[in-house]
Each structure stands twice: as C-alpha cells, then as structure tokens.
Amino acid sequence: MHDASAHNQVAHHAPPTSFIRKHVFSLDHKVIGKQYYGLALVAVLVGMALSWLMRIHLGWTNFAIPGLHLLSKNGAPGNVMTPEFYLQLMTMHATIMVFFVLTTAPFAAFGNYFLPIQVGAEDMPFPHFNMMSFWVTFVAFLVLVSSFFVGQGPTLGGWTQYAPLSALGEVTGPGQGSGVVLWAISIAMFCVGQLLGSLNFITTTLDMRTRGMSLWRLPLSSWSWFITSCMGLTAFAVLMPACILLILDHVAGTSFFAPGGSVINDQVQPHSGGSTLLWQHLFWFFGHPEVYIAIVPGMGIVSHVLVTNMRKPMLSHRVLVYSFGALAVLSYMVYGHHMFVSGMNPVSSLAFSFPTLIITIPSTVIVLIWLGSLYGAKLRINAASLFSLGFISMFIAGGVSGFFLAQPSTDIMLHATYFVVGHFHMVMGVAAMFGIFAGTYFWFPKMFGRMMNETLGRIHFWFSFVGAYAIFMPFHYLGMAGNVRRYQAFTPDYMQPLVPLHQFITIAALVTGVAQLVFLYNLFHSRFWGKPASDNPWQATSLEWSTPTTPPPHNNFGDKLPEVYHDPYQYGVESSLGDYVMQASPEQVKTVHDEA
C-alpha cells in the first residue's frame, strides 16, 4: 500500500507566490538558511565595527573617534570612550560574535540550506518551527542591539555575565539594570530559536534521508550539523533556565544568584543567600559546549570542502565522525576548566583538568586525519580550499594554547589574561570564521547560481590569514606577560611597556578589517553580476550538486527525490564523469579503498 500520506510526511508545501511568503515568512529551508546568513552578515559587521572601536581605544586611549557619541548618550564625551563604554562595546562584541555570528552562520545558515539537500529531502519536517526559529533569533538580535538605546546602554558584564555583577542591578554599573535584562531576554529567545532549529536538524537527519542514504553515507558537513544540533539541544536548554532566573533576580527581587550582604555605595543590597558559583556552573555547562557548537560545523564544512578539492576521500570518514562525536560528548565534562581559580573546590579543578586534556586527543585525531588525507592528494587551490587549509592552520595554532589553559597550575598565570583571548579567538573565532568563508566560496554558486570572483577571494584570504595571525598571536605574548583582559587601559605599571604591542595589534586589526570589505564587495557583486554557475562547478559528489536546477527548485529535487548509490566522497575513481562519481549516480565504478 503505497499511500500518498507517507509522502505528506515530508513538509509538502506548494511554492509560495506572494512576496511575504516567499522572502519574509518563508517556510522554505533554503530561504531560511539565506535569512540566517544575512543575519549573521549584519551581525558580523556590527561585531567587527565594535572590535575596531575597542582596538583603537586600546592602542590610543584618548583618541577621539569621530561620531562615537552617536552610539551612546554618556559613553563618549568628546568622542573619547569612557571606561564603561569600552566594557559595553566589549560585551556586545562578544555576545554578537558568539551567538549571532558563530552559531548562526556555520550551523543555522549553512545547515538549514544544505542539510535537507544533502540528505535528499524536500525540506525540514517542521517548516513552521523552522520559520519561527529564524524570526525568534532575529527578534533576539534586535532586542540585544536595542539595549544601546535604552537606559544607560548595554550591559558591561562581559558575555559570561558573572553574577553578582549581573544580578544586583544598575548599582553595580551603567547598563547593569535594563542592559542585563535585555541581554538575558535576548539570549533566552536565542535559545528558543536554536532549540527549534535543533529539533528540525535532528529529525531531518534521522527521518528524512532519501532512499539509499544510510547514516554512513552522509557527507561530513551533514554529520557535523547533526552532532552540533544534539549539543545545541542540551546546551541551550540549560542556558535558557539560567537566563530566566537571572531576569527574575532583576525584575522580581528574587535571590537566585545575588548573595546577601553585598555593600555597594555603602548600602547593603536587599538580597540574601544567592549563589554566584551557581551561575558560573550553569553558564559554563552551556558555555563550553557552545564553543564546540561554534567550531564543529566549521570542521564539517572544511572537511567537505577539502575532500572535494583534494580529489580523494578522507583517510577515514568514520574516524572523523567518531571524533566529532567524542568532542561533543567530552565537551560536557570539561566545562569547569573555566573556573579553576574561581573558588571552586581545588579537587574539582583537577577533575575537570583531565577530561580537558583528554579532549585534545580527538582534536588531534581530526587534525592528523586532515593532514594525512592531504598526503598524496591532487590539491586544488582556490578561495574555498585556501580558507579550509587556513582553518587547519588556525585550529592548530589555537589548539596548542589550550594545553596551557587546561592545567590548573599553568592557568594560575594565564587565566583572565590576553592569552585566553588569543586562544579562543584563534580556535573559535578565526577558525570558525574561516569555516564560514570556506563554505561561502564553496556553496555560493549553488545558493545563487553565480560564481564568486576567485581573484578577490584570494586577496581576501591572504589578508585574512596573515592578518589573523598578526592580530591574535601577539595576544598570547601579552598574556604571558600578565596583561589582564577586559581592561580598557593599562594602568598597572608592568603593563605600560605592552602598549606598543597593542598598537601594532590595532593596526593589524584595522588592515584585516578593511580586507573584509573585499569579501563583502565580492559577495554582493557576484550575487548580481557574477559568472553564471553550472550545476556542479567543483565536480563534487554530494546531493546538493545533483539538483535539477541551480539554485535548487522549491522542493529541491523536482519531481523525483534522488536515490543514493555511493559513499559520499567517491573521488579518485574512474567514471564517465572523470575522477569522481556522484552519490546519486547509479554508475558502477571501481571505488578506491575505504576501510570497512
């Protein structure tokens, strides 16, 4: 009994006709993916602009930045940044980057667009949830940015919002009242958005795969989105309650995180008994998986791009997948490494240190598999593969500094210094950004039907690669010398000699930032005037390159869903097409050896 209703299971919506249904409140995962990409693009520009302001201030503390006063009523008298305004910019920079760029672009944007196509489905199973996921996230972004214009401006508490600085209200500093509340509302909404997204990602992967698409035939990018959504499901489900409790401490006078007996401005604050470490535990239980949520999709994308450009499969598909999985599982056991000197029991510090050191093993396996797969490859150099290789280089550079922070004894010297800032910018910030760039150069032809300009892409890459090292490597040196992070100026005597290095970093950051405009230009120019792309410009194998049109039609594959006959990366074979065979092609080829 082949019944139609089973087919109905697939979100089976007819192509929309009105502008609103097509481009605004769209149910189409491809449109939603592009919306997420657009949001991430706006967010990254805002975040980057904020980092410029911070960098200028750190290099030349009294520099008047023209127009700065427009951003804040009191934060920039004479266009010179006040200390609190620096911290507010820093908090916004970090929150925007971590949540609205690194979670949305590699995971929500590319995942939405390509996960259903790579598994061979028409759409995600719950398109309404999917649409809500984007719009909730979008409103969350507006709420966050709106805090610039409410009360005393955004919160200055850093993206970690440690209590009780975050819980006692405006008395602790400008923006610690309405700013924190808006921050927490925004993040709680963001959690809802990502939970809805994760629901769709998981069910898509488990239930929507087309005929022949076994789990092991999923491309690495799909695997990484799937694993990431499993992490997101648990991590965001913990952050949201924490945000709710934080909001209540503000608006309802409860004392979840606000301890008793705090004296501010000679006034004893009206709270009692709240636990400040509770916030840290809840936050980092989310926070550590979050950094893997930011980076694992990048790893998947980079693997996917690299395989295509190496023209050979990875040394082992499965070992990579298992390693991603190991990262996901271990990421929940290590979160305490952020709290070594926070007054946690010193025995717990050791207990968190070992899993943290152990998590370097799957990371190393991943890097070694990448390196080993490069051996004997027929490597193509293009913007996408350059960014993928750059990702590997960055991930190594940022990864090794993790060894220092994983040990409580060395962390004594490095905790809360620029060493940490250098570490996470390389391993999470830049690496994930490179993953986004690699994905963009690689998939742009499929998403928009046009090629991006290769020369501009390479220019963009050179500036970004050299620039990222120039900016973030010196952060480590600053940290070794004891330069504390979250300082708007370096008043301790021993930090004075470090200011020239800060000035060097600022110049590097500005140059690198300007180079990003090349990317922006390339993106927009190619969108409208780029060379038309063929269906499969990279001679790739996975299903997104088998769509009947480019960009894919509303239901992705036209009348008939593809059937899958091959493992995802059959390169280096002999087929009628050349050195590869597509997953959806029934052609029998001599396959290269892949371990069982």
């Binding site: 019944d3 209703s5 199973p125 719950f126 629901l199 239930d207």
Partner: protein, 223 residues
C-alpha cells in the same frame, strides 16, 4: 458531539513494514556495494522522532532548574514551605487527564488500524482530557492564590521563588500541551489526524504528568 467517526481518518501506516520505501523519508535499501550490514527500509514519521527530541530538551532544562534548586537549598536562608494541599488534588486531575487521553489514543489507534470499523466516542475522551488539563492549570492558579494568602510571594524566600518558577514553567508547558490536544481534536474532526501526531501529543502529555510528579517530590522533599 460526534460519537462515531464516520470517515476513516487518513491512515498513516507508521511502522507498518509493508510500506514501500522511497517516499522521501526512507533509509538506505540496498547499498550499491552491498557493504552495509543491516539496512532498514523505512523510517518513522518525523513527529515520532521529534517528540523525543522535544522531551529531551524539556527534561534537560528542568534538570538545570533542579541543580539550581539543590544548590540554593544548601544556603542558610532556605525556609521550607508546606505545599498547598490543593496540589495533591491537581495531581489526581492531571493523572486522570492522561488516562482519558490514553483511552482516546487506544480507541483511535484501533480504528486506524482498521481493527474496528466504529469507535465509541474517542472525541469525548479527548475533550475530557482537555478539560481536565485546563482544570489542572486552574488548580495550579488556586495553589498560587493559597500561597499568596499566606504572604508567600515570588521573592519572599528561595523556596517560594522556586515554587512559583517551577510551577509556572510547568504550567506553561501544560498549556502548550493543551494547544496540541486542541489541534488533535480539530484534526480528528476534519479526519486528517495522523497517528504519529496523536502519539506524539500523548507522549508529551504523559511526560508532563511524570514531570509534575517529579517536581512535586522535589518541592515537597526536605534536603
């Protein structure tokens, strides 16, 4: 009120293994190279996977609340409060609601599998479940009023804070479940209900039951 369902609802074969593969949500049938050991030729409808995903994340966030509560209970300012007795009544109501839903689900399930051509009043049982669910939420509201009359507000002490937060968030989830139930009734009346939707809603509803019992013990318990 409809006592019988005249038109067969659209059947969703669910785990019926006779279904042909290749419907856009099937798994690998035969690997081209014959390498993969076991292959299944169908996959469950997304709702039946999705519901577990949803429950996992709800469970996770209540675990987070639990850990917060345990930490907070250890502080000196914790004053144990006696639960308003109406809660025990509410508990019975919620369990009864689950029971009614289960009856409805079995009847509709039997009908869908065409075991029976006529089903006695599944909608009546569904309405019953709905009504009892609403009654539960109203009862929770009653519990809040009782607490208020004792002068226990959200910010009075940590125990009352947790009481209001946990019951309110649970009640919100119950209201979500009620919307789901209403949707099931609507779809059943229009004969477009899928078995997987009904099952998912029912699992959710039973989960709310279990969750409530858990919260009740958690709030009742002295550490």
């Amino acid at each position: 009120m409809a006592t019988t369902v005249h038109e067969p609802p659209k059947i969703d074969a669910g785990r019926d293994s006779t279904r042909l593969p290749g419907n856009g949500n099937s798994r690998n049938l035969v690997p081209a190279d014959g390498k993969l050991p076991a292959v299944r030729d169908y996959s469950p409808p997304p709702a039946s996977t999705g519901i577990w995903v949803v429950l996992a994340s709800i469970g996770m966030s209540f675990l987070a609340f639990t850990s917060a509560l345990v930490v907070r209970k250890a502080a000196l300012d914790w004053q144990h409060l006696t639960l308003p007795p109406i809660l025990y009544l509410n508990t019975l109501v919620l369990i009864a609601s689950s029971f009614a839903l289960e009856v409805a689900r079995r009847r509709i399930g039997a009908f869908m599998r065409r075991r029976e051509s006529q089903v006695a009043s599944p909608t009546r049982w569904l309405y019953m479940a709905l009504f009892l669910g609403l009654l539960f939420v109203a009862g929770q509201y009653g519990a809040w009023l009782q607490l208020r009359s004792q002068g226990l507000y959200l910010s009075t002490n940590p125990n009352s804070s947790f009481f209001y937060v946990l019951t309110a968030i649970h009640a919100l989830h119950v209201l979500g479940g009620l919307t789901g139930l209403a949707r099931v009734v609507y779809r059943l009346n229009k004969s477009i209900l899928r078995k997987s939707t009904l099952d998912a809603t029912a699992y959710y509803w039973h989960f709310m039951d279990g969750l409530w019992l858990y919260l009740l013990v958690l709030l009742w318990m002295k550490l």
